[in-house]
């Protein structure tokens, strides 16, 4: 399998090299034959990279430990799902997966645009092929997942006698990654990263081919929308994985690699919004080019951060050998590619400045067009803050040699005001009139939302003022936190009321104009204008996310108690009775069973009412039995999560150290994510014509 994979990647590299040349010749000469050849190269690369993926998967499933990657990230007893997900569990495999996914997306993009945007394809294909070429160079010369396993004598183990080969066992996948959400999270994230390459290539293609007309951008917008959606869901799944697997009771730690995935999502959000303005009014042309370039480059930057070893993170793939010459270090290869793509984009922007001028002015500071601009400026500001937080420690370390990292204390005070301002703009932009922004345009739409936001604010303040001495003392000890919380509550209700009112008005208008009758009219906004109302669902999901983050961040309570079977302990509003501490055979041969578990049986009561039977566990994996992982147990309800973990245990006397968190409204995050998924998918549905 190793030989097939290696050769497949080598032929793919040759095809990418030829394809890039052919695409460029097609761009310069306008010769269809070269374009066809370039497009065929893309399809050939797709077939060959999928062949390489299949070869690696087969090697993983067959426990072919003669391949170093298989030996490093798999073992015989590993369940099939984790043998398959080992493809993206290590650096080399993940780059192969990136490359194969990119090739598939490139093939789809050229096929879907072969009639409508054929004139843009030469340079677009050139950019796509350059990107493929970059990954194929890495796979062939730097990060081959098919490298043979060598023994300490420098002899390939492949040459061993069969009985010696049979004795070789792999290390196995990192236990933290042996989780079903970790099997889904990276593919979702990669689809987002990879997908943004398509609109990036199309925008550069449009600039190179002097395309001023913006209607071709619908195709680019669909790719951007899909990538934005999968990246967002990927980030959220990563948060859920961290919540249930890492045992610290949280879902987001402002880890540099988490931030690196968040950055392109933010700029992608800005692109999706300013695109709407370019489509309707022909404005913000430069912003669109800027944001899509930033999004693609930030995707590559995120990949660079994870793979260069420059950062310490639970997500990073580890350090590189320091003896490697600088020009062959993976980080520097990534930097060279990013700079190359940036230079290509900048040159095209400078040479096609005329195409990026809209020739239209913003008529009013309160118009819809202006509000979209404010939103994008705020999203840009958020990007800069996070980018600074991620990047500055790298420079500080390079200059001073000191290890610095930024956590919540850096991000929260800077990001929260910007995020709340975005929430406000998100609401007002939904009701803002086109071209005009006078008070008269707003007045009739603001009454109900202002009442909703104001009432929510009054109720929350009253609840804290009359919530007892402890509540008042907490309020006095961190007034700024409460100020942010109250602002978030008021704005969330304000925005939610705007969205609900907008939907009701749309349904009523459909009925009044005889376009639909009840109850069919309830769905008519989504059928008639899926982008707008799908977008509103996404906004509603964001409101849920804001509330979930605000409440869980402000009111999380942590507890820890040592318990024996029969003990009953109070954790906030819950009483926990420990029924017992149980375990699998801890002396079992882990190479055969892959894992052994220890768990506490907990009966949870709220008052006298039994509410849940929880089993927090520690799991010893064959891959790393010294570091058992957490399997937390959560009693999840809409308003509260009761989160338990087995922090420590002694199987001899049956004692267990039980950690617990009461996390308010965490479920709102997952509910918000679901709404974003539904809304985003709706926005991808083609509009019904009437």
């Amino acid at each position: 399998m190793g030989t097939i994979g290696t050769y497949a990647l080598f032929i793919a590299l040759a095809l990418a090299l030829w394809g890039a040349v052919a695409a460029f010749v097609a761009y310069r000469t306008n010769d269809l034959r070269y374009l066809r050849s370039a497009v065929r190269s893309i399809h050939g690369i797709t077939a060959l990279s999928l062949l390489a993926v299949a070869a690696l998967w087969i090697a993983l499933l067959k426990n072919d430990f003669t391949i170093k990657y298989v030996w490093e990230y798999s073992r015989s007893s590993q369940p099939i799902i984790y043998k398959l997900s080992a493809l993206w569990g290590g650096m080399n495999g993940s780059i192969l997966f990136w490359c194969a996914l990119l090739a598939v997306f490139c093939s789809l993009a050229v096929v879907l645009n072969r009639t409508n945007n054929l004139r843009l394809l030469p340079f677009t294909s050139f950019v796509l092929l350059l990107t493929l070429l970059f990954f194929l160079v890495l796979l062939n010369f730097k990060t081959s997942p098919f490298e043979p396993l060598m023994d300490s004598e420098g002899l390939a183990v492949k040459a061993y006698a069969p009985e010696m080969l049979a004795r070789i066992e792999g290390n196995g996948l990192n236990p933290l990654l042996q989780n079903v959400y970790m099997a889904i999270h990276p593919p979702m994230l990669y689809q987002g990263y990879v997908g943004f390459a398509i609109p990036f290539a199309f925008i550069l293609g449009a600039l190179a081919h002097r395309e001023r007309n913006t209607f071709w951008m619908r195709s680019a917008r669909n790719w951007a929308m899909y990538s934005w959606l999968t990246l967002g869901i990927g980030i959220l799944l990563g948060g859920y994985w961290a919540y249930i697997e890492l045992g610290w009771g949280g879902y987001w730690a402002w880890d540099p690699v988490e931030n690196a995935s968040f950055l392109p999502w933010v700029t992608g959000t800005a692109f999706l919004h300013s695109f709407l303005m370019q489509e309707k009014r022909g404005i913000y042309r430069f912003w669109n080019v800027f944001f899509i370039m930033a999004t693609f480059l930030l995707c590559i930057y995120g990949t660079f951060l994870t793979r260069s070893g420059i950062l310490q993170s639970v997500h990073a793939f580890g350090q590189e050998d320091p003896t490697i010459p600088w020009y062959f270090k993976i980080g520097n290869i990534f930097i060279a590619f990013m700079l190359g793509m940036l230079a290509l984009g900048v040159v095209l922007i400078l040479r096609r400045q005329g195409l990026l001028k809209s020739g239209q002015r913003l008529e009013s500071a309160g118009s819809r067009e202006s509000l979209f601009l404010y939103g994008n400026l705020l999203l840009g500001l958020m990007t800069l803050i996070v980018l600074f937080g991620v990047t500055s420690p790298i420079f500080v370390r390079m200059v001073t040699g000191k290890e610095v990292s930024h956590g919540p204390e850096f991000y929260n005070p800077r990001i929260l005001p910007v995020a709340l301002a975005i929430l406000l703009v998100m609401g007002i932009a939904s009701i803002a009139p086109w071209r005009r922004g006078g008070w008269a345009g707003y007045r009739r739409h603001l009454l109900f939302p202002s009442l909703a936001g104001g009432s929510a604010l009054a109720v929350s303040i009253a609840a804290f003022l009359y919530g007892g001495a402890a509540s008042r003392a907490d309020f006095a000890s961190r007034p700024l936190t409460y100020a942010y919380l109250f602002a978030c509550i008021a704005l969330s209700f304000f925005v939610a009321a705007i969205l609900v009112e907008e939907y009701i008005r749309s349904v009523k208008t459909s009925v009044a104009h005889g376009r639909a009758t009840m109850p069919r009219a309830l769905l008519s906004p989504f059928r008639d204008n899926p982008r707008r109302y799908g977008g509103y669902l996404v906004h509603l999901g964001m409101v849920c996310l804001f509330l979930g983050v605000a409440f869980s961040g402000t009111f999380q309570k942590e507890y820890q108690e040592t318990m024996r079977p029969g003990d009953a302990v109070r954790f906030g509003p819950y009483t926990v009775r420990m029924a017992g501490l149980n375990h699998d055979d801890l002396n079992a041969d882990l190479t055969k069973v892959n894992e052994a578990r220890v768990w506490a049986d907990l009966h949870v009561f709220k008052g006298d009412r039994f509410v849940a039977h929880l089993r927090p566990q520690r799991v010893f994996y064959a891959a790393n039995p010294q570091q058992p992982t957490y399997e937390v147990a959560i009693h999840s309800r809409l308003m509260n999560d009761f989160y338990t973990l087995l922090a420590g245990f002694d199987p001899k006397d049956g004692t267990a150290v039980i950690g617990a968190f009461v996390n308010p409204m965490v479920a709102w995050l997952w509910l918000g994510g679901l709404l974003v998924l539904i809304g985003g998918t709706t926005a991808l549905v083609p509009m019904r014509r009437y």
């Binding site: 030989t3 097939i4 050769y7 497949a8 080598f10 032929i11 040759a14 095809l15 030829w18 394809g19 097609a26 306008n30 010769d31 269809l32 034959r33 070269y34 374009l35 066809r36 050849s37 065929r40 190269s41 050939g44 060959l48 009639t115 409508n116 054929l118 004139r119 394809l121 030469p122 001023r212 007309n213 913006t214 209607f215 071709w216 619908r218 489509e279 309707k280 009014r281 022909g282 239209q360 819809r368 009701i431 803002a432 009139p433 086109w434 071209r435 005009r436 345009g441 009739r444 907008e502 008005r505 749309s506 208008t509 104009h513 008639d528 204008n529 707008r532 509009m687 014509r689 009437y690």
Partner: protein
């Protein structure tokens, strides 16, 4: 030996397929845009704005102005 031979065959086959278009008759890349696509894009954009007209988020005069712009843009 067999894998090497198989690779060689695969590489030759891939390149023959990729290079084949170069031996066809020369042809320029068509530059015209798909007229149906443009009309469809304009219609959909106008349709979205008409929703706003019904919801009183755009004045009729502004809708006309934007519609004119969309038509000009599609012809550019």
């Amino acid at each position: 030996m067999a894998p090497l031979l198989a690779t060689l065959v695969l590489a030759v086959a891939a390149f023959v397929w990729v290079l084949r278009p170069l031996f066809e008759e020369a042809q320029a890349i068509p530059q015209e845009r798909a007229a149906g696509l443009l009309a469809d894009a304009v219609t959909r954009s106008v349709q979205e704005l008409e929703t706003d007209l019904r919801l009183q988020k755009i004045e009729p005069a502004d809708l006309d102005m934007i519609q004119e712009h969309l038509k000009r843009e599609s012809a550019s």
